[in-house]
């Protein structure tokens, strides 16, 4: 039996460098991640925290790999829901690749693949992130392509 895992791919009309910046810049993250703030240097070994607006810690962990603008791996644990925290650490890998367009459209596109896998056993954490990632990444795609997010308020 393989470990529970969530994989999501999205294509965004942007460059790998701009996408990397959006994944690691706290001010940008706050815009597409429903006011969540990231505290992290995004270098290998850095501690990593996501915080709610009121200062509570949502998630915490550490950067395992950072290879701009291609690959980021975060060791990640939920901190605000006991039943999710109990499942322990997960690993979230973000990979950025270039994607080819039809020639008549020109320009560049970036392919973002998120793979989120639990280190141990359990299903609730992966279920929770499976619901969350499509909202966050749809918002990120809108922000990079239109300058505004898809959700003005959190659904």
């Amino acid at each position: 039996m393989s470990k529970p895992k969530f994989v999501y791919v999205t294509y965004i009309r942007t460059t790998p460098e701009k996408l990397w910046a959006a994944l690691t810049d706290p001010q940008t993250i706050k815009r597409y991640w429903f006011n969540i703030t990231a505290e992290c240097a995004f270098t290998p070994g850095s501690p990593w925290h996501l915080k709610f607006e009121d200062g509570r810690t949502a998630d915490s962990g550490q950067i395992l790999e950072s290879d701009p603008p291609k690959r980021l791996m975060i060791r990640w644990r939920n901190e605000f829901k006991p039943e999710l925290k109990a499942e322990g650490y997960s690993r979230c890998t973000m990979e950025i690749e270039m994607a080819d367009y039809y020639p008549d459209f020109g320009g560049k596109a970036a392919k973002l693949t998120i793979t989120h896998e639990l280190e141990g056993e359990g299903t609730r954490f992966i279920e929770a992130v499976s619901g969350g990632w499509p909202k966050v990444l749809s918002n990120l795609k809108s922000l990079l392509e239109t300058g505004d997010v898809a959700f003005k308020t959190k659904p």
Binding site: R13, F105, T146, K154, P155
Partner: protein, 167 residues
């Protein structure tokens, strides 16, 4: 007609779009939209359960054909999905593709589900898992920016090989 309860979801993709349910419905059912985001394919669909459904290539050949199972605008569309081109792909048993559209706050949630009636090898599922994110990313770009994001891609090699091995 098929018995939908025999088809189990194997691949799902959820995307949120700054649009209206009506506009998303229109983009799924009108060739003016599908030709832009679905690799130039046009759609022919009879607006009723049991109606015929066809995805057609620009040269007139049929790419996919099937029957409408659910026609409930602008909430749910599902069709049987039999690949007719490339020729080798005709060996694939038909699957069911469903789209569900729901208002989610000030955006629209579109959920695509691909369901199968047999023990599908992972290599064959990789086809949909590769294609749907590109198709639906392009649909979102089209509705939000007026321009599709037509990514160039081909079916995964592992899928083509697995289809060759099918009886």
């Amino acid at each position: 007609m098929i018995d939908p309860s025999q088809f189990k979801p194997k691949t799902a993709y959820v995307i949120y779009i700054a649009s209206t349910p009506e506009k998303v419905w229109q983009s799924l059912t009108s060739s003016d939209f599908t030709r832009k985001y679905f690799w130039d394919r046009s759609i022919e669909i009879e607006p009723r359960p049991g109606g015929d459904f066809v995805l057609r290539l620009p040269d007139g050949r049929i790419n996919v054909k099937g029957k409408v199972i659910d026609w409930n605008p602008p909430h749910k569309l599902s069709v049987t999905w039999q690949v007719a081109w490339p020729e080798d792909f005709r060996k694939l048993p038909q699957c069911v593709v469903s789209y569900e559209i729901a208002q989610a706050g000030d955006a629209v949630r579109l959920t695509m589900t691909e369901s199968h009636s047999w023990e599908v090898p992972e290599a064959i599922l990789s086809g949909g898992r590769t294609g749907w994110p590109a198709i639906l990313s392009s649909l979102k770009s089209l509705l939000e920016t007026g321009k599709p994001l037509a990514i160039t891609m081909a079916p995964p090699t592992a899928m083509i090989e697995a289809i060759k091995r099918l009886k």
